[in-house]
């Protein structure tokens, strides 16, 4: 186990990279949104300043035990799921436990973030956050179905549940899963709209209706921790999508410094482009009501998911 030190260093580096990339993506999106709304908008590193300010708040009002635990829970869930996501396939630097985890395990672990938020919001007793939590869980039920159908389609197609094998297959066959099983990809893409909680589906923390929903009672350090947890989760979902549908990043055979950096570069480009899809969709769309959002997910996306599964079973 001579490269154990390397692995530990790689894991720590992944966490900071995920956090930094997640926050910078948020800053870039704020800048782009401002430009589209013909104004200049904040600097790209504004999210880091917001986080630093939130962390440097003097008083911190908490509501009981779960009020303290909710942000910590989100951060724990984020980092653990991060460890099981392959950053660069087969790379010596960032193996992080990605060979252990598989899709089904990831599905469960990704729910922990929202669960933490829900428990914390329930503890605060603010009616806005209670309603926000019910909306968040119902929306999750909405987008989980097409998402799970898409993953099941991939699993059936390649008879494997490990994310690493999936990227490996894509690397060998040279065909990206997005083209191998287009229906599953479209279903997962629709589901990603719900995951990132951008405009048509930001019913969870809708400011005009619920005064920012579940986080309405969290301020200062708690809000800061939640914000960084959210940034890491965004990075996780993006890299998962890239590894499942866009053939992952970095070639497994050589792990030189330059190859790793090139792999990370490709990963950033792919994740940023994928991140732009829900953002573009959110710029020009108002918000759904709760039942409309759920009906949206159980409409076309689920049909595409089923088609994806049928495609995987019969045609492939």
């Amino acid at each position: 186990m001579e490269d154990l030190g390397l692995k530990i260093f790689g894991a720590i580096l992944t966490t900071f990279m995920a956090f930094a990339v997640g926050m910078t993506y948020g800053g870039i999106v704020r800048k782009l949104t401002a430009r589209v709304q013909n104004r200049y908008g904040p600097p790209v590193y504004q999210n880091f300043l917001d986080l630093l300010k939130l962390q440097s708040k003097k008083t911190n009002i908490a509501h009981g035990f779960m009020g303290h635990m909710a942000p910590v829970w989100i951060i724990i869930a984020a980092v653990t799921v991060l460890m099981f996501i392959p950053i660069l396939n087969g790379n010596l630097w960032f193996p992080n436990l990605s060979f252990h985890g598989d899709l089904i395990f990831l599905l469960y672990m990704m729910v922990f973030g929202s669960l933490g938020m829900a428990l914390g919001a329930g503890q605060t007793g603010n009616p806005n956050s209670a309603i926000g939590v019910t909306r968040g869980l119902s929306q999750m039920v909405g987008y989980e179905i097409p998402f799970v159908l898409a993953l099941v389609a991939l699993m059936i197609q390649y008879e494997t549940t490990s994310v690493q094998d999936l990227t490996q297959i894509q690397h060998e066959t040279g065909v990206w899963n997005a083209f191998a099983n287009p229906f599953a990809f479209l279903a997962a893409l629709f589901a990603s709209l719900g995951m990132f909680r951008y405009s048509p589906f930001d019913i969870v923390g809708a400011p005009a209706e619920l005064a920012s929903g579940p986080v309405s009672e969290f301020g200062g350090k708690y809000l800061g921790t939640m914000m960084s947890g959210g940034a890491v989760f965004a990075f996780i979902k993006l890299t998962l999508y890239v590894h499942l549908f866009f053939g992952g990043a970095g070639n497994p055979d050589n792990s030189g410094i330059w190859a790793t950096l090139a792999g990370i570069g490709i990963l950033l480009i792919k994740t940023f482009l994928l991140y732009m899809i829900p953002v573009f969709y959110g710029w020009i769309n108002p918000r759904y009501r709760t039942e409309q959002a759920i009906r949206y997910f159980w409409g076309w996306p689920t049909a595409l998911g089923i088609l994806g599964v049928l495609w995987a079973v019969y045609i492939y």
Binding site: R30, A34, Q37, N38, R39, Y40, G41, P42, P43, Q46, L49, D50, L52, K53, S56, K57, K58, T59, N60, I61, N128, P207, A211, S212, V215, S216, E217, F218, G219, G220, L223
Partner: protein, 181 residues
């Protein structure tokens, strides 16, 4: 650590720098000046390039804007909201109504001086200040924060008695927490 004073200064500098560049303004239009807040936050005057963003609830907010006159009924809610906010918190008084009662000085329902009831950091005078002067008010507040002089949160906490007696003179039945621990 003999140079803990210097290290403390560095930490203060960094904290004040981050507080200065990221002000969350509470979305609460208490008076008639609230019509200039959307104008300041949107595309022509764009306060977001200074890092000024709206916050939905007092927990997340740093800056409380008292935009214009303040009736006694609103004062009761403003005090409640101010005490829910987390330190360091700042209050900006908009328009001459917060300075000396302005045009409604002889009204039976509006207060004449805001700083008897809440510690105020920055006043912006004018009968409905323009977005430019609103932004200059924010910039003045940012300078105060950078020099570490904007600590009215503690001032409110230390002489709570003074503020409480003034507030209770106007607000009759005080069904609000007293924080007299």
């Amino acid at each position: 650590m003999e140079n803990d004073k210097n290290s403390q200064k560095i930490v203060d500098y960094i904290q004040n720098f981050s507080r200065k560049h990221s002000l969350f303004v509470l979305a609460y239009g208490t008076g008639c000046g609230a019509i200039e807040i959307p104008a300041t936050m949107t595309s022509r005057y764009d306060a977001e390039r200074f890092g000024i963003r709206g916050a939905a609830t007092p927990r997340q907010a740093d800056v409380l804007l008292i935009t214009g006159y303040l009736s006694t009924k609103t004062l009761k809610r403003v005090i409640r909201v101010y005490e829910q906010m987390q330190e360091p918190k700042y209050v900006i008084g908009f328009g001459s109504c917060t300075i000396n009662g302005g045009m409604y000085y002889d009204s039976y329902n509006t207060i004449n001086g805001l700083d008897q009831y809440l510690p105020v950091d920055v006043y912006i005078n004018g009968c409905m200040p323009r977005p430019e002067s609103v932004i200059s008010g924010f910039v003045k507040l940012q300078e105060l924060i950078q020099d570490g002089k904007a600590n009215n949160g503690e001032k409110y906490r230390e002489n709570l008695e003074h503020y409480r007696t003034n507030q209770k003179k106007i607000i009759k039945n005080w069904k609000m927490p007293d924080y007299n621990w």
